[in-house]
């Protein structure tokens, strides 16, 4: 496949069809979501007509490994799945390790409640991710890639499978890709319905056919990963961003965002707002602008009491911090994580204490059961929180909850155990009065039955 052929396909499509731009909101910047709802996801030609596979071609012909990584580093792209580790540095790690075989994995095991961006990208722009994976493989010197897709995403499985098939047919995958003498192929693996398999080491165990439990780090995947070989695991959104950065250059990406959090991020907003949905916005936008501006504020007659950022791995943000920018650094200080960009808006009909319990139960249900702090500790947290919700709590329970949370946070094996306590900790920090009200048999939202025993 040469550049001429690519342009040939492009021109033949453009002659018959006009693509128009789509935006959910005027303030949106459609950088990564450019093709979403615009092209037919099953048609590789329509993707090529929108400058598809040009970035992979460019990476293979005009650039070398170092210059790709340099470009990614320059763009300031950070991992979009929650860890926010700079992608360029991650890639340079696994490139620097010498091995006869290397792997790259696309983590499409999106399981955080309130997140649905990966799904949209997988279902509506699958080729952008396949292309991102090809670029990543070139940069990391990997000859084999894996798509680890969540079991529940049946449609995504189908689109990616067709995309890989079409790309292979045109010679973008397989032996000697783009006729440039480089071998790379992708295999799809379907998860078995476990949240913890979104954690990179558990994901690799799962691909190896083992029980999905996380491994101890170090050794990091970049040194010893899948099948004991250096492995790079990237999120769907990260790979989609990589494609656009290589295509349009680092400047087109890093002109958006804040100093340490460059580029745009796709936020998925759900909950009690007038216009929930997904929006691609520059990092650094304030929560207030996002919720009251773009999502058009609370439902009629209601007030927004809190915002949950990052799902069960994030935290509740109280009103006094709504003006702070949504980026990676500030949220680490606030003990919440931006996570993958999922935002749940809460109004007065929802009880935050009850929601904490829901997230803890989620964490326990999804714990792999390997290490004791996560497996047993979360269970004890639930027991205490349940007694508070049932109106049987004691004042010292709050201190116990805090201690347990801190302990689980410090000694868990993997990110799942560490992050399950985040919502509870942030709620205890920002909304302690709600817990005290529950101890006094009162629930503002009238959700918990904490008063019944004493009435």
């Amino acid at each position: 496949m040469t550049l001429n052929k690519l342009t040939e396909i492009k021109n033949s499509i453009l002659a018959n069809k006009k693509f128009k731009k789509i935006k959910n909101d005027d303030r949106e910047i459609r950088l990564i979501l450019k093709n979403v709802d615009v092209i037919d996801p099953y048609s590789i030609e329509e993707y090529i007509a929108n400058d598809g596979y040009l970035a992979a071609y460019k990476a293979l012909t005009e650039m070398n490994r170092e210059s790709i990584i340099e470009e990614i580093k320059k763009s300031g792209l950070r991992g979009r799945s929650g860890g926010a580790f700079p992608t360029g540095i991650k890639w340079s790690f696994s490139l620097s390790v010498e091995a006869d075989e290397k792997y790259i994995i696309c983590n499409a095991d999106e399981g955080i409640p309130g997140d649905f961006i990966d799904r949209i990208l997988l279902e509506k722009d699958p080729h952008a991710i396949v292309e991102g994976l090809i670029i990543g493989a070139i940069a990391n010197d990997a000859n084999k890639g894996y798509f680890y897709i969540r079991k529940e995403y049946l449609a995504a499985h189908k689109t990616i499978e067709k995309a890989i098939f079409a790309a292979r047919k045109l010679g973008f995958l397989g032996k000697n890709i783009f006729d440039q003498g480089y071998d790379f192929d992708i295999e799809i693996r379907i998860g078995a319905g476990s949240y913890v398999c979104g954690e990179e080491t558990a994901l690799m165990e799962s691909i190896e056919g083992k029980r999905g439990t996380s491994r101890a780090k170090p050794p990091f995947p970049a040194v010893r990963g899948l099948f004991g070989k250096p492995t790079c695991v990237n999120n769907v959104k990260t790979l989609a961003s990589v494609t656009k950065i290589i295509l349009n250059g680092a400047e087109s990406f890093n002109k958006y965002g804040t100093e340490n959090s460059k580029g745009t991020n796709i936020f998925s907003i759900s909950g009690k707002v007038k216009k929930p949905g997904f929006y691609e916005l520059p990092l650094g936008i304030s929560i207030r602008e996002l919720i009251f501006g773009i999502c058009q504020g609370p439902l009629a007659g209601k007030t927004i009491t809190s915002v949950l950022v990052g799902g069960p791995a994030g935290g509740f943000v109280s009103e006094d911090k709504w003006n702070s920018p949504l980026d990676y650094d500030l949220f680490h200080i606030n003990r919440t994580m931006l996570g993958a960009g999922g935002i749940v808006v809460i109004d007065e009909t929802i009880c935050i204490v009850d929601m904490c319990l829901m997230f803890l139960e989620f964490g326990l249900e999804e714990s792999c059961g390997k290490c004791s702090p996560c497996r047993y500790g979360t269970k004890k947290q639930i027991a205490i929180l349940k007694s508070i919700i049932e109106g049987k709590g004691k004042p010292e329970d709050l201190e116990e909850l805090k201690n347990l949370s801190e302990h689980i946070l410090s000694s868990s094996l993997c990110g799942l155990g560490m992050s399950t306590s985040f919502p509870l900790l942030s709620a205890l920090m920002n909304y302690e009065e709600l817990f005290i009200e529950h101890l006094n048999h009162k629930c503002r939202a009238n959700v918990c039955k904490c008063g019944e025993n004493n009435d």
Binding site: G369, K370, S372, H407, L413
Partner: protein, 528 residues
């Protein structure tokens, strides 16, 4: 060489050493629970947490490799609190039944709880927490008790390392995680060969041998039955290691408990050697299964080799036949009222004696098998005068590898074996991981002895003939044979030819066929 700062002391360490290894070397105590060197290094119990300067969160010492200029702190207040918290959580889920625990005081969890002085904060009666508890007793060898399990993963790693068959695994997830035979199968269907290595490596007693102590105790108190005990002579090592005041008076101990007669296994071993010798002369290549788990292994996974497997029954069952058929009559006992109890180091024997071919005219060869530690339980139950060493303190000081402490279960580390009283050198020691391949090349070896230590031993010595021995020589083995002779011969005879003794021994047994077993290919549900 790189330098590491451990609690303020500069230590020079080699590359690729873990923090735990370094700490052990300089004598700094780091608690461990799931760690078992070379077997289980999954770092999931979070007991060996340490602080490393510049690293977020605590890191497990057992899995963290030292890097240059690393500053490690192992005894800060926050580390201690984290370990205590973890132990409190584990204790909150553990079923404490220390009074009937097969581990006695020799429990790694108990040692840790004692060392850190743990408050039983989350016990069931103080709070509303309940643990899912299920006891899986699917065969007569091995029992799983999830209530005692601390989910350390040791048994699973051990199973993988020993047999490569992965018979045990975690099931479910989160709080419902439980260790069971794979795919929720019954143990007897799972492909387990009952080697017992998981029992040996369990830090608590979540996997144990099935308990026969109660039944034996009931029989001891039932005056109609006469109990005869026969023991593997390795019990002496075990007792010297575990009992503080063991004075070598084993017969006295057995009598105190209520056994009528006690023997070591020399009769059975003699008969076994004799019959085996016949087989070796005839077939040249013979696999001797010194542990019944080898028979299980070959029957389930390697049935092509069954044709080489020695068909002679194991020494303790042969002696059981002898005791019931001959010895009882001599003493005027009724064989039906006689119970033979074997004291053996391996759990597989518990399954062995239940097999059909070990039943002769509805008279079992051996009625009960007790493991060494079960015997200790029995002694303690009836109040026999045994005091157990408390290793806890010594352990902390010397940092003994835990394997050392529990190796009585398969204490068979010899490099030579005796066949008919003659020393035979080991020809090959084969790593456990490659033994299946070695089995395939078996034709090139003469004689194979299969020992369940960490390696298997191969002997070639196909042509062993019974020779005449000079009995004036100081040889305990032959003295034992002479002693047996007292049982089989009414008149005293001068022993000059050892072959005569064997002939007499065999003549004392009713039918020759009952001395052999037949092994067949066995199908299990989990056939990989």
């Amino acid at each position: 060489m790189i330098k590491v700062n451990l609690n303020g002391t500069e230590v020079e360490v080699e590359k690729n050493q873990t923090i735990l290894e370094v700490a052990n070397k300089i004598g700094t105590y780091i608690p461990t629970l799931c760690f078992l060197k070379g077997v289980n290094e999954t770092s999931q119990c979070r007991m060996c947490l340490v602080e490393i300067e510049g690293v977020r969160g605590f890191k497990p010492a057992c899995a963290t490799i030292c890097s240059d200029q690393m500053v490690v702190n192992t005894n800060s207040e926050s580390i201690k609190n984290a370990v205590k918290f973890n132990l409190e959580l584990i204790a909150g889920e553990h079923t404490f039944e220390c009074w009937n625990c097969p581990r006695e005081e020799d429990c790694e969890l108990l040692d840790l709880l004692r060392y850190f002085d743990i408050e039983h904060k989350y016990s069931k009666n103080r709070n509303k927490f309940t643990a899912p508890n299920s006891v899986i007793n699917g065969c007569n060898s091995i029992v799983f008790d999830s209530g005692k399990c601390v989910l350390c993963h040791r048994c699973i790693s051990t199973c993988n390392k020993t047999t490569k068959k992965d018979v045990i695994s975690f099931h479910n997830r989160g709080e419902n995680t439980i260790v069971k035979p794979v795919h929720n199968l019954n143990i007897s269907e799972s492909g387990c060969i009952y080697c017992g290595n998981c029992i040996q490596n369990c830090p608590v007693s979540a996997i144990t041998e099935s308990n026969s102590v109660n039944e034996v105790l009931n029989l001891l108190q039932n005056t109609n039955k006469k109990l005869i005990v026969q023991y593997d002579s390795r019990i002496k090592y075990f007792l010297t290691e575990t009992v503080a005041d063991y004075s070598e008076n084993l017969a006295g101990l057995f009598q105190e408990v209520g056994f009528k007669h006690s023997f070591d296994l020399s009769v059975g071993e003699a008969v076994h050697d004799f019959l085996l010798n016949d087989e070796i002369v005839k077939n040249k290549t013979v696999i001797e299964a010194s542990d019944f788990s080898i028979v299980n292994y070959l029957e389930i996974y390697n049935y092509d080799l069954l044709k080489y497997l020695s068909k002679v029954k194991s020494p303790h069952t042969l002696q059981g036949i002898f005791l019931k058929q001959h010895y009882c009559k001599d003493l005027g006992l009724n064989a039906e009222d006689t119970i033979v109890v074997s004291i053996l180091p391996n759990v597989s024997a518990k399954a062995e004696i239940e097999r059909e071919e070990y039943d002769y005219k509805s008279l079992k060869d051996v009625d009960y098998v007790l493991t060494f530690r079960e015997l200790l339980r029995l002694f303690r139950r009836v109040g026999a005068d045994v005091n157990i060493y408390d290793y806890a303190e010594q352990e902390k000081l010397e940092n003994i590898n835990y394997l050392k402490k529990i190796n009585y279960f398969t204490k068979n580390q010899k490099t030579t074996t005796t066949l008919l009283g003659e020393e035979v050198a080991v020809d090959y020691i084969v790593d456990i991981n490659t033994f299946a391949e070695t089995f395939k090349q078996i034709d090139s070896y003469g004689y194979l002895n299969f020992n369940f230590s960490n390696s298997f031993e191969f002997y070639s010595g196909g042509q062993h003939h019974i020779k005449s021995y000079d009995l004036n020589q100081e040889n305990v083995y032959w003295k034992n044979i002479a002693k047996i002779n007292d049982y089989i011969a009414d008149e005293e005879i001068e022993i000059t030819d050892i072959e005569k003794i064997y002939k007499k021994l065999l003549n004392a047994l009713p039918e020759k066929t009952m001395l052999y077993t037949d092994f067949q290919k066995r199908k299990i549900l989990n056939n990989k």
